[in-house]
């Protein structure tokens, strides 16, 4: 199975504030807050981890069912792509 990688778009900045991760899209001035799991996904993605590895890491770190987590990860990736915050790096 091919490994699926994403990378952060060039126009975004990440900033942690009061234990919350904020993504700023410099291209359109929009901002997005991420919860703890979302912030961890972005962190692992920016380290170059692929989706399978990201999901595996999260399963070890959070008390969550695998099917629920896989759906949540995919939902977040879809949303980040829709807003041009990440792009495919495969």
């Amino acid at each position: 199975m091919p490994r699926t990688f994403y990378k952060l778009s060039n126009d975004i900045l990440l900033q942690e504030v009061a234990n919350e991760m904020v993504i700023l899209n410099l291209a359109d001035g929009q901002y997005y807050g991420l919860n703890e799991i979302g912030a961890r996904i972005i962190q692992l993605m920016s380290r170059g981890e692929d989706i399978t590895s990201i999901t595996q890491n999260l399963l070890e770190e959070f008390d969550v069912e695998q099917t629920v987590l896989e759906r949540d990860v995919q939902d977040l990736i879809d949303e980040l792509q829709q807003h041009a915050l990440i792009e495919s790096a495969s």
């Binding site: 900045l13 504030v17 009061a18 919350e20 904020v22 700023l24 410099l26 901002y31």
Partner: protein, 323 residues
């Protein structure tokens, strides 16, 4: 003809300038921090365009900026070219330009970029002193910052700034430096607070805003020293006369976004790549200060109620912090 350079305190720094600053600035001694003066031509003006304002005046963009992190040209076509570096602000007026307008651009956007070049955060905001610390009223133009600030002045609070607010973040506190002693109000608003408002100079012939001196024999009082910032209110004026005045906490993400939007010359800072350096300091401010959204109805007849709502909020929070 070369005019004599005089020294004034602006934003807590010593400015040496040939502008006859119309806003009653305090004279200064000591080493000059920045030189602001007219030159015949700008040496090696940068050519790479960073930002073009969507606003148009006389068929030309209202504003264009060019440059690099240490050398910035701000061009107001038909009015003035201003070059900003970490030590100088030099300007070349267009023929027959209105010097009051040039002064406003030098004290406003050019000063903000000079402050940012010197690693000082510059918000475009109004701030007033309440109980020995300052509250910031932040939002984009036209949301009523100056009108609300004037209401505070009419209730015996001092003005810290009505244009640029330089902020310094220390481990213990966020400090605001004073701006210059002037508030800009639309004519109808100015008449509510100042008897001779109609005789005051306009910010621009086509803009109905008046430049009202603050302190001395002018309107209200001016706070001319740095002061700790206690609260930030993000203004949300709604066009509904029946809307309730409400004050709510913002999430950290909302607070950070409000401070980015409230930054002076945000588009140019972004194009220069300076936002990445500013963000950790803005985030620190969000972590240190309560940031609250103040929702209120439009209309001058609501101003006193809005003032009392904010003053009560500040009072309650002060009392909580002492217990």
């Amino acid at each position: 003809m070369t005019r004599q350079l005089l020294k004034y305190f602006v934003y807590g720094f010593v400015w040496q300038t040939d502008l006859r600053l119309s806003s009653c600035l305090t004279s200064a001694d000591g080493q000059t921090d920045v030189e602001l003066r007219r030159v015949h031509e700008l040496s090696e003006p940068p050519a790479n365009c960073l930002f073009t304002s969507p606003l148009v005046r006389n068929g030309l963009p209202f504003l264009k900026t060019y440059g690099t992190e240490q050398r910035l040209l701000i061009r107001y076509p038909g009015l003035v070219d201003i070059m900003v570096t970490p030590r100088h602000i030099h300007y070349v007026p267009a023929p027959d330009s209105d010097m009051a307008l040039i002064e406003a651009q030098c004290l406003g956007p050019a000063s903000a970029l000079w402050l940012e070049f010197n690693s000082i955060l510059a918000l475009h905001t109004s701030a007033v002193v309440v109980d020995e610390s300052a509250i910031i009223l932040v939002e984009s133009s036209g949301s009523g910052k100056s009108t609300l600030a004037a209401t505070f002045l009419s209730h015996q609070h001092a003005l810290l700034t009505d244009d640029i607010l330089p902020l310094t973040v220390t481990p213990q506190a966020v400090w605001g430096r004073p701006g210059y002693p002037q508030i800009r109000l639309y004519s109808d608003v100015a008449q509510r607070f100042v008897a001779d408002a109609e005789t005051r100079s306009s910010v621009h012939p086509k803009i109905g805003k008046k430049m009202i001196p603050v302190g001395g024999s002018g309107f209200g009082t001016f706070h001319d020293r740095p002061v700790k910032i206690s609260y930030i209110y993000v203004l949300n004026r709604v066009e509904d006369d029946n809307a309730r005045i409400a004050i709510q906490d913002l999430t950290p993400a909302e607070g950070l976004h409000a401070l980015i939007r409230g930054s002076s010359a945000a588009n140019t800072l972004q194009a220069l790549g300076l936002q990445a350096h500013r963000l950790p300091r803005l985030a620190r401010i969000v972590e240190m200060l309560p940031i609250r959204r103040l929702t209120y109805p439009s209309g001058m007849h609501h101003l006193n109620d809005i003032y009392h709502a904010v003053a009560t909020d500040v009072d309650i929070r002060h009392k909580k912090s002492f217990h």
